[in-house]
């Protein structure tokens, strides 16, 4: 039989990275996030002073001069503290989102795949948790576990689970009702094959986007806990904690508040933009 050449055969689309970098938000977001990772990785090389050494050059020195971003109430170098703080911030984002994503996807995919009473229990449970604000859940967790950075991260991660579970559940529900999924069932595929080769790759792009956007939420939430004194404990250089500590000096040394605040804002912006860029570059429709 002769080979059929029908029209509309598209050329191979540009690669994922190129698509990401081509979108303005993707490029900016990726740059910010990479810069952050760079700062975190080389904090000990980049930082001119120790983030915890007190009183070296004087307290409340304004930005500029010897201390690039000034010093705080104990005379610690703000620039070094911000650099070291990026480590903790990234770690918080990654671990908290890691917890939410893993547990959430597990719950969502099991519920969508198994249906029936398992679905009912998992999703109604999610609904109950969903009716509380995430901060409240995180707060109650920290209240039980005790205030520490580690517990704050766990709390933020757990508080995010309902959102991820629900997003994953609805994405998975859409996929399982598509003919390709049924075609695979009709071909005799078992549960492992259905979930691992069909369901997971098809919900993952959505979840990656959601997770990237979620990193900023997690960072904010953890910063919030630290701000309340329930997260990072002194003398850790955590942005949220730094923000909280600077409250008393807002008139005398406003940079103590603005600098960590800006750092959080730029980080959140970076992850949000990256999430946006990922959404367009991972979407098969946009790919065409």
């Amino acid at each position: 039989m002769q080979t059929v050449t029908e029209p509309q055969t598209q050329r191979a689309p540009p690669g994922f990275w190129r698509r990401l970098v081509r979108s303005p938000s993707g490029l900016v977001g990726l740059s910010i996030v990479l810069l952050l990772v760079f700062c975190a990785a080389f904090a000990d090389v980049l930082a001119p002073y120790s983030p915890t050494k007190m009183g070296a050059g004087g307290r409340f020195l304004p930005p500029g001069g010897k201390y690039l971003l000034g010093t705080d109430e104990f005379g610690r170098d703000m620039f070094s503290r911000i650099l070291y703080g990026s480590r903790i911030t990234l770690l918080i984002g990654a671990v908290a989102v890691g917890i939410s994503l893993t547990v959430g996807m597990l719950v969502g995919m099991i519920a969508a795949f198994r249906r029936g009473w398992i679905e009912a229990i998992l999703m109604r449970g999610t609904d109950v948790l969903f009716s509380f604000t995430e901060t409240l859940i995180a707060l109650s967790f920290v209240a039980v576990l005790g205030p520490s950075l580690q517990n704050a991260v766990i709390a933020v991660g757990v508080a995010g689970v309902p959102f991820y579970a629900r997003t994953c559940y609805s994405a998975a529900l859409v996929e399982t009702s598509k003919p390709y999924f049924e075609a695979s069932i009709a071909a005799g595929a078992g549960p492992a094959r259905l979930v691992l080769t069909h369901l997971l790759p098809n919900v993952l792009p959505t979840m990656i986007v959601v997770a990237t956007l979620g990193v900023s939420t997690a960072i904010l939430a953890a910063a919030g806990l630290s701000f309340l004194g329930l997260g990072a404990q002194p003398p850790t250089s955590e942005w949220g904690y730094m923000l909280a500590g600077s409250r008393d000096y807002i008139n005398r040394a406003p940079w103590l508040m603005t600098i960590p605040g800006l750092a959080i804002a730029v980080t959140v912006l970076g992850f949000n933009l990256l999430g946006d860029g990922l959404r367009t570059s991972l979407d098969p429709v946009e790919r065409k």
């Binding site: 059929v4 050329r11 191979a12 598509k178 075609a183 009709a186 071909a187 595929a189």
Partner: protein
């Protein structure tokens, strides 16, 4: 007589890319012009240009004279509604779901300041009555979702006619409708044209509809007019090669059937299948379920193609899914050879699935977008046959070539293929594990006619080459006539008639079968028929009785 609408050198471009070029035609009062072509031919774009509904990036050039003005002149507001009316394919989306029918009908009359609300309601009711909607007063208080698809399309037509347009553009007005409903809507359009003397531009892909409805035909391909002329001439002696190809590709319901010799051995035996779909909601509030299958029994013989024919809601797809065990029947038995499929569970069921494979309607949704085509085709082999990788790849290569694609396409992803190519891939997957039965659920209804013809050829070839037994589910009687050996006609979850293709088409015994065959538009202008009576009243729907050897009819 002067032309109502006179189009000269119409062109639509996005940037410098032409979408439509050099379209010229005249439309006279009381005339039906069909614009026919496959997807991407620019037929809808032409209509949009005339209505001033082009996307912002597109620009139209040329002239379209209507009522002394140029429709393409951007400075003049297009006479939408009052001058030219537009009917869409999907009647649900053309109506706002949150407003009553009455409000939507009268809105335009009032906003165009043609009359006041009271008069508008009176006129709307009269128009609904005119388009064949019983109890118009009551209907006007209802919402679009309370009406069937055919009713909704009637409402849309009424909405357009209320404004008294002189030209009506109907963009695939019956494509989303069942064939019996299509016939009624076409009849209605024809009556309106004859009564009011408006000009109708009918955009369609269906050559049967073209032959039945039109006076003149404009054939389009890739944005250009291929041929333009009176309908009889176009069908009798088409000049353009493309028109000829298009006409040849159309399956004919009035074609001669050739009967393949089938063995008498029964491969699949379905008995007393019942299936009721429950309404959603908690038990106490649950509404009555819909009976999708009502005591259906059926035998499929080794090597034959049995077609399940029916309109939407007939249960034909449900029956196919029940046999493929994708939907669980409430009761009944499915026996494949000596294997009781209904009794299979878990691992045994998965192994048994090898025997029954499916081809789905929508080739865009039936392939996993994130798996390569090669992997998709290999899946049944991976599941059922433990082959070394090299041997498996070789099998996939053979399968791809067998369905008419190139072997190196295995590494590509579905979105790189056209609809027809994707359906070929789906066919390759279905036959990969050498099943004994393939269920094809409307495998060609999402495709263009010329692609459909080639896919049908391929299925035919597979059937002969692989000795496939096929259950072919379709609403299209012409396609069924071409491919099936035996036909089962279904309606409301019951089989009403079952017989060989010749028996069903040459000597249908059940009134519903007769009505169904009668309403299919035939691509032959000489066979244009008048208004047909719809199937009314009750019809026999009892157990099947053998009327003549091998020909079963509901009693």
């Amino acid at each position: 007589m002067n032309a109502l609408l006179s189009v000269r050198d119409l062109a639509v471009r996005i940037g410098t890319r032409p979408l439509v070029e050099g379209i010229s035609f005249d439309l006279k009062a009381g005339e039906v012009l069909s614009v026919v072509g496959e997807s991407g031919s620019g037929k809808s774009m032409t209509a949009k240009a005339l209505m001033g509904l082009l996307p912002p990036a597109a620009t139209a050039t040329g002239r379209a004279e209507f009522d002394g003005a140029d429709l393409l002149d951007a400075d003049i507001a297009p006479p939408r509604g009052t001058g030219i009316g537009l009917i869409f394919q999907e009647p649900m989306t053309a109506l706002t779901p949150v407003l009553t029918i009455g409000l939507q009908l009268t809105e335009a009359l009032v906003s165009h300041e043609i009359c006041d609300q009271k008069e508008a309601r009176r006129r709307a009711a009269a128009m609904l009555d005119r388009v064949g909607i019983p109890q118009p007063e009551m209907r006007m208080r209802q919402f679009p979702h309370e009406l069937s698809g055919g009713m909704r399309q009637r409402v849309v037509i009424a909405m357009m006619m209320l404004l008294g347009p002189r030209v009506l553009i109907a963009d695939e007005p019956t494509t989303a409708l069942d064939v019996t409903v299509q016939a009624q809507i076409l009849d209605l359009l024809r009556e309106i044209v004859a009564e009011t003397g408006i000009g109708l531009i009918l955009i369609t892909h269906d050559m049967g509809v073209v032959a039945e409805m039109s006076d003149t035909v404009l054939v389009m391909k890739s944005g250009q007019a291929v041929e333009h002329g009176p309908v009889t001439r176009i069908f009798k002696s088409p000049e353009a090669d493309y028109t000829r190809t298009l006409l040849d590709a159309v399956p004919r319901i009035d074609a001669a059937t050739e009967q393949a010799e089938t063995k008498q051995d029964v491969l699949l035996s379905v008995s007393d299948i019942n299936k009721t779909f429950n309404g959603r909601g908690p038990h106490l509030f649950r509404r009555h379920g819909t009976r999708a299958l009502d005591n259906v029994s059926l035998n499929v013989r080794m090597g034959e193609t049995l077609a399940l024919v029916g309109e939407s809601g007939s249960g034909k797809t449900t029956l196919g899914r029940v046999i493929a065990r994708l939907t669980e029947a409430d009761s009944g038995k499915i026996q494949l050879n000596s294997l009781d499929l209904t009794a299979c569970k878990g691992r045994r069921l998965r192994a048994a699935r090898r025997q029954v494979q499916m081809i789905f309607q929508d080739p865009y949704a039936s392939l996993d977008p994130r798996q390569t085509v090669g992997h998709t085709i290999a899946e049944p082999l991976i599941i059922h046959e433990r082959l070394p990788r090299s041997e498996r790849n070789e099998r996939v290569r053979q399968l791809i070539e067998k369905v008419g694609l190139e072997a190196d396409m295995a590494r590509r992803y579905p979105h790189e293929f056209s609809g027809g190519q994707r359906q070929r891939i789906a066919i390759a997957r279905a036959i990969a594990a050498r099943p004994s039965l393939v269920i094809a659920d409307e495998p060609t209804s999402a495709l263009d006619v010329s692609v459909q013809a080639r896919i049908l050829d391929l299925l035919e070839e597979m059937k002969r080459g692989e000795e496939l037994t096929m259950l072919f589910i379709s609403h299209d009687l012409a396609v069924v006539r071409q491919i099936a050996d035996r036909v089962a006609v279904m309606r409301h979850g019951k089989i009403l008639e079952l017989g060989s293709t010749t028996q069903i088409f040459a000597a249908p015994r059940h009134p519903y079968t007769r009505a169904l065959i009668d309403v299919v538009p035939v691509p032959d202008p000489a066979r244009k028929r008048g208004v047909r009576p719809a199937l009314k009243g009750s019809y026999p729907a009892g157990p099947l009785v053998e009327a003549s050897p091998g020909h079963w009819v509901a009693s």
